[in-house]
């Protein structure tokens, strides 16, 4: 056994950033050792992409479908990317629930780990998964024959929009996990929010073909903002204003959700 140091260690101030990096590293290590969930998370979107892409191929020929949007696969790809980001991030709170179930959460909360860093780490982890999954989906769409005139920049903005969406909903999911601490409640709330949000957007269907109230509601739907930004960016002539406002709105949602979810740690402490 080596000699024991006398001076206290571990009392130097550390920033939220370094703590976030350590905690994100832990989550990524787990993912690296067990990438099952990353792969399973891709099965559903790939089925949507290939099956829906074939099944509804002629939808683009319907009168009212926005002209010039290319084939249905090109139309569908941003929608599927956002759906994947949405569904995966709605489950993000599960990581907290596992940590609460063991006493990992309590050990972190009694350590100097910053609450903000604990929140950022799970959000960043979700964002990294979203980057990988989004690129895989775009890749598969390209192989299946879709073409994106927006090019690399368009794909980049699509991934960015997906990441912002994932950040917002993983924060929400984390907050719900901290407040309820129940897997069943988390599942119920995820399903209750994600499915309506998906169908109240143009993810799989051009809203010109939907009742007008759906379009009105979709204007307030973050999923729709992400889909619109991505779909615009994939076009040959991108309307930068449309993309910019949608990304700005998404960023605002991420900040608000992140702050609210971090505050949920206080409620967790009060009820412990």
């Amino acid at each position: 056994m080596t000699t024991t140091q006398m001076e206290p260690v571990g009392t130097r101030p550390l920033t939220v950033i370094t703590h976030s990096a350590f905690l994100t590293g832990r989550l990524l290590r787990t993912l690296w050792r067990m990438p099952t969930f990353l792969v399973i998370g891709l099965v559903q979107p790939v089925i949507w992409l290939l099956l829906f892409g074939q099944l509804f191929r002629s939808v683009v020929n319907l009168p009212g479908f926005t002209p010039g949007s290319g084939g249905f696969l090109q139309f569908l790809t941003p929608g599927v990317v956002m759906m994947t980001a949405l569904f995966a991030s709605a489950w993000a709170g599960t990581t907290y629930l596992q940590d609460i179930d063991r006493d990992v959460m309590d050990r972190l909360l009694t350590s100097p780990a910053s609450r903000g860093a604990m929140m950022c780490a799970t959000m960043a982890y979700q964002a990294i998964q979203t980057v990988v999954q989004s690129l895989v989906i775009v890749g598969i769409a390209l192989i299946a024959g879709a073409r994106f005139p927006g090019g690399v920049a368009g794909v980049g903005i699509t991934v960015l929009a997906a990441v912002l969406l994932a950040l917002a909903f993983s924060a929400l999911s984390n907050g719900v996990a901290l407040l309820t601490r129940q897997q069943a409640t988390l599942i119920a709330i995820s399903q209750f929010t994600t499915l309506p949000l998906m169908f109240l957007s143009s993810a799989v269907m051009d809203l010109h073909l939907a009742p007008s109230w759906v379009g009105d509601v979709a204007g307030y739907n973050p999923v729709e903002w992400a889909v619109v930004a991505a779909r615009q960016a994939m076009l040959a002539h991108t309307d930068r204003g449309t993309v910019g406002t949608r990304l700005g709105l998404l960023t605002a949602v991420v900040l608000v959700m992140g702050l609210l979810a971090t505050r949920a740690f206080r409620a967790y402490r009060k009820s412990t």
Binding site: G10, M34, D101, D103, V104, S111, P112, R269
Partner: protein, 337 residues
């Protein structure tokens, strides 16, 4: 840096009160009702009591996990309500359930804990290696924790709490669920800890022998308050004298009256065929006790003398034996009040 603190007390809890909401239309559950104790620096202080007595709630408040409804507490001289961040730098926390990441190895878990506490990578590596050797985890250090036995995982939990050399270490039921072998190994580790690491340990347990063996001082906790406090020896000597236990051949109601006429014996209780009493000097009391029973024609199968145990102390202060109380469901215990 943690502020210089002149008090010799590492832990001070004053009149802690905590109630939990039990849900809609149910009265709130009182976990603590005015719990107070003090533990000196460099000692092992035990909180002894059954599940639901309030031990874990006390640990949660002192470790900043939970907030008391009223009362105050200082850990390493720092007020837990006013400066929880500073308290967190000074403490190590070993919860009842595992605090390890099952997908990480022992080394990875320790390094993360050290880095979170602001240790440099080099310091953290050296300290992790030291703790792995000390807890006999060297062979398993690079295996995921999910492959560990209960005893190994528990040792790693304690090592995680020690990683940053805390001033105060909380050990919440460190040996619950361990087999006797792992338990005695853990005792061995804890016993040397306060001196080797120059720190204060707050140990909660519902095992009397554990409290007796490890704690320099202990507080018996029942229904959210401290009912007795002292060193194990002090608590036992308060009971004055030896316990006498006589097993009758058959239950006989006269035995109690007969024994009450023996001047050496007091505090006589009967439970079926078992008669218990207390005496200042067991060796002198036993012959008249047996004589009186024989004169009355009451058959005796055995008679034993025992030095007072902590269970006797516990029984005396709480009115129930810890061995039976410990098995009760905590919620049931609260509801029974």
């Amino acid at each position: 840096m943690v502020a210089v603190w002149r008090s010799a007390m590492a832990l001070e809890a004053v009149d802690l009160v905590k109630t939990y909401s039990a849900g809609r239309n149910k009265p709130p559950v009182t976990a603590l009702q005015g719990l107070s104790f003090r533990a000196a620096k460099g000692t092992v202080f035990g909180l002894l009591g059954p599940n639901g007595a309030g031990k874990s709630t006390t640990v949660k408040i002192l470790s900043t996990l939970s907030v008391a409804d009223s009362g105050s507490a200082r850990v390493a001289g720092i007020d837990v309500a006013a400066k929880p961040d500073r308290v967190r730098q000074a403490i190590g926390f070993v919860a009842q359930k595992p605090g390890t990441d099952p997908m990480g190895t022992a080394t990875e878990n320790l390094l993360l804990a050290g880095r979170i506490h602001g240790m440099s990578r080099r310091d953290a590596k050296a300290r992790a290696g030291e703790l792995i050797d000390r807890f006999g985890l060297a062979d398993a250090a690079n295996r995921p924790v999910s492959t560990y036995s209960g005893g190994m995982a528990r040792k790693l939990d304690v090592a995680l709490g020690l990683m940053h050399r805390p001033q105060v270490l909380f050990l919440d039921e460190p040996t619950t669920g361990l087999d006797p072998q792992a338990r005695s190994e853990m005792w061995h580790e804890i016993a040397g800890m306060a001196t080797d690491e120059q720190m204060t340990v707050l140990l909660t347990t519902h095992y009397l022998d554990e409290a007796d063996h490890l704690a320099d001082r202990l507080a018996i906790v029942d229904h959210g308050t401290v009912v007795a406090e002292g060193t194990p020896e002090e608590l036992k000597s308060e009971l004055r004298g030896d316990a006498v236990q006589v097993e009758l051949a058959e239950a006989d109601g006269r035995a109690r009256a007969v024994l009450q006429r023996v001047p050496e014996l007091r505090e006589i209780t009967m439970d079926g065929c078992t008669v218990r009493g207390r005496t200042d000097d067991g060796a002198r009391a036993l012959p008249p006790v047996l004589g009186a029973l024989e004169d009355a024609g009451i058959g005796v199968t055995s008679a034993t003398l025992a030095r007072p145990s902590l269970d006797d102390v516990y029984l005396r202060h709480t009115g129930h034996s810890l061995e039976t109380a410990g098995d009760e469901d905590p919620k049931g215990l609260e509801a029974a009040k």
